[in-house]
């Protein structure tokens, strides 16, 4: 099982990701409502995979990605955001994200994105 942390300031989105992820593959170890909480939970629970919103209070998603990647460069971060411009996607990847899922998304979209993100771990 891979340890998964969900980061989003929306309860609806956190709940959707918790419901929709593949429970045979991922174990949710933490959910965080902003970047500051995410960093604290990351150090506490050591998730291998993180879903990350970008527009959040306190520490935003881009800054949070950089901080998490600095703590553990191996972490796999899937950005789940409504911000659809190319520049933001590139910036997130440069800071340490590994994939991008645009909101709104279906449960199948989420499962496919998480599978693609972690595909190499099956080898």
């Amino acid at each position: 099982m891979l340890k998964l942390m969900v980061v989003d300031d929306s309860n609806i989105i956190r709940s959707k990701i918790c419901r929709a992820h593949n429970a045979d593959k991922f174990e949710i170890v933490a959910t965080a409502t902003d970047g500051a909480e995410a960093i604290a939970f990351f150090e506490m629970h050591h998730p291998q995979v993180v879903t990350m919103d970008l527009t959040m209070p306190n520490i935003d998603g881009i800054e949070c990605i950089a901080r998490l990647a600095a703590i553990n460069p191996e972490v796999l971060i899937l950005v789940v955001s409504a911000l659809s411009d190319q520049a933001t996607g590139i910036e997130a990847l440069e800071k340490g994200a590994s994939g991008f899922l645009l909101k709104p998304f279906s449960e199948n979209d989420l499962r496919a994105a998480l599978d693609e993100l972690t595909e190499h771990l099956n080898d």
């Binding site: 309860n11 709940s15 959707k16 209070p57 911000l83 645009l102 909101k103 709104p104 279906s106 449960e107």
Partner: protein
């Protein structure tokens, strides 16, 4: 605001509701409204816009629509807290998706949600807003765009 820019937000509304189980969304004819009397339903999610454009984009909807929308999204908890969350998330998604065309300098805030009274929505009095009516199932909601180009 140009017709092309307005279309970006109309497309955003349609895209959002395409992801619900009841993909039965109709967008009405957009119109200009005075900021002195902003349209407001039970809950309103407001996104502040800064950067190349200044103003706000908001999504306003009746309680019953939000409750059914949550059920359609598979969310079992239809509490008031989640209704407030959802109206903010819809506004955030529509505004965020607009950056595909408007770019990174279309900067959006985290959502602020107000309930009820239009007096709680402050819009620049010298401007007018575009109202995009949206009917999902039998419920009427609206996306309001108030932007200084």
């Amino acid at each position: 605001m140009t017709e092309d820019k307005l279309q970006i937000f109309i497309d955003g509304v349609v895209r959002y509701f395409e992801h619900t189980a009841d993909n039965d969304m109709r967008v009405g004819t957009p119109y200009l409204a005075s900021n002195a009397d902003p349209i407001s339903m039970d809950y309103t999610g407001i996104i502040g816009i800064s950067g190349n454009n200044k103003g706000c984009v908001y999504f306003t909807a009746p309680k019953i629509m939000l409750k059914h929308l949550m059920m359609s999204l598979g969310e079992p908890d239809t509490s008031e807290a989640n209704m407030i969350d959802l109206v903010g998330e819809v506004a955030n998604t529509i505004s965020g998706n607009a950056r595909r065309e408007l770019g990174k300098d279309f900067m959006i805030s985290v959502p602020v949600v107000v309930s009820g009274a239009p007096s709680k929505i402050h819009l620049p009095s010298e401007m007018r807003s575009y109202v995009v009516p949206a009917v999902w199932r039998s419920y009427s909601a609206a996306v309001v765009i108030c932007l200084q180009a």
